[in-house]
Symmetry: C3
Subunit: 201 residues, 3 copies
């Protein structure tokens, strides 16, 4: 079950990378690279920081296959994709929660440090999207607007409560994914944004 | 004493990240991330390269707290900050020297290789600023103008002489910080720049 | 012999970084940094991912010296460089093949995983160029056009066949370099490009 969510999250993240890269007219190789780093980049940074080498995203052929599938879909079924925009956003939210929770779990199991687990949990979830935007030459969307990283942080916090046994550790990941998804979908529906800090001129 | 300079350097670096991010209209989360990577990014790269895992910047709550404080100051006291521009530049110069010297010290203690210590000393000092500028979509200031990295390199060199016991190892860090600060402040006062390489057209 | 090709590849990669940085009016330090990361950045990422620390590019003074030489050449002999554009492209192609093959060899010797060896082989060859373009604020050329990464992938594949003893392991690196160079030079001569994925509007 966890495995299915992992691949689904990877798939949807890769899709977002592929669509953005096609938009910027990258060639096939460029689209593949962008999709791959969007899907696996956050996890690779996490693994580098805790010394879990080589990074899991680089040695499991499942990820690369799922990314290739996402690129093919983005290339050949763009019209379908447009009609699926709503489901895609939903699966992206689920993937976000999963990556945040999974990141916290993996880090805390290896290095039981609360700050590290939270920071790397969020990076697992949003790091790939940041690299995608840097590669495509734009300021990372996740840093400028929308409740996205905040939803990931909430997921990471709930999972951490599970690791600390404050809440049941079997319930924690599901609660993390559910609440992260809920917050994210509500923020999309009602167009919530984090406030920017006003600049006095 | 070293601890105080470390936190002060972190604070001033975070401030520069926060101010730049507010300028680009990032949301609160984006400002926090930018401030954090500006302050801790160089040290994280250094620690990744010498295998000092997990990176010190990610497991000590002091840094995150100091960064949060800097963001709050940047958000609520912008007018004050403008009036403090001169002191800020001074503390930034002190932080620059400290990070360069501390980077050399940490690297050389673990891997006694001169080139590595110098390269990573400079990266400790200027790496965060480079990541900040890449995230904000501009060519890193430190690569285009001003005597900044060169001042860090000077600090790194002096500290290295201390590690090699050419000069007294208790004096070295203070000499490194003092000279780096001096060069940096003089370059600001007299608007020294490194020459660009002329392009023959 | 391998050592000579390694330094030659480093030199030509550094040259491409230096020329691009001068074009963007970076100062001397910026040009040096850009040349260095272009030449050594891919290998550093590779070494971080397999835990070969500290990264080879940061502890061997040969690389830094060769980079400094390339920067000096780029600064003082720009007219000569223009006349040498053709040879430079040729040596760049040879360096590309060498870095791809060497990357695969180093990775597979340490972690015998096929996917990891291929991914990091290609990253060794094209990673530096990607960092160069991100630093200079442009979408990485290698992701947008030209048969470049594909030639590196071909070189990596051939070297991998050697590691797996499908083809003679003493022949493999030479075949990898030769074929990568051939494909790259042909693609330049006949202006082959990978197709971009069409966007239906």
């Amino acid at each position: 079950m966890f495995f299915v969510i992992d691949l689904m999250g990877t798939f949807v993240f890769a899709l977002s990378g592929a669509v953005a890269a096609i938009d910027r007219k990258l060639d096939i190789f460029g689209v593949l690279v962008t999709a791959f780093v969007t899907a696996c980049g956050g996890g690779v940074i996490r693994d580098l920081c805790i010394g879990a080498l080589p990074p899991a995203g680089l040695i499991n052929l499942e990820y690369l296959s799922v990314v290739a599938l996402a690129v093919a879909l983005a290339a050949f079924f763009q019209r379908l994709l447009l009609r699926l925009a709503q489901p895609t956003l939903f699966f992206d939210a689920v993937g976000l929660g999963f990556f945040a929770a999974f990141g916290v779990h993996k880090v805390y199991a290896l290095v039981p440090n609360i700050e590290l687990a939270l920071l790397l949990g969020v990076i697992t979830a949003v790091g790939g999207g940041i690299i995608r935007d840097v590669l495509l030459g734009r300021v990372p969307v996740v840093l400028t607007k929308e409740i996205y990283a905040s939803a990931a942080l909430l997921g990471a916090l709930i999972q951490l409560l599970g690791e600390l046994q404050v809440i049941d550790r079997h319930v924690a990941p599901w609660a993390a994914i559910a609440l992260c998804t809920l917050i994210r979908m509500l923020s999309l529906k009602y167009q919530w944004n984090l406030p920017a800090i006003k600049k006095n001129s």
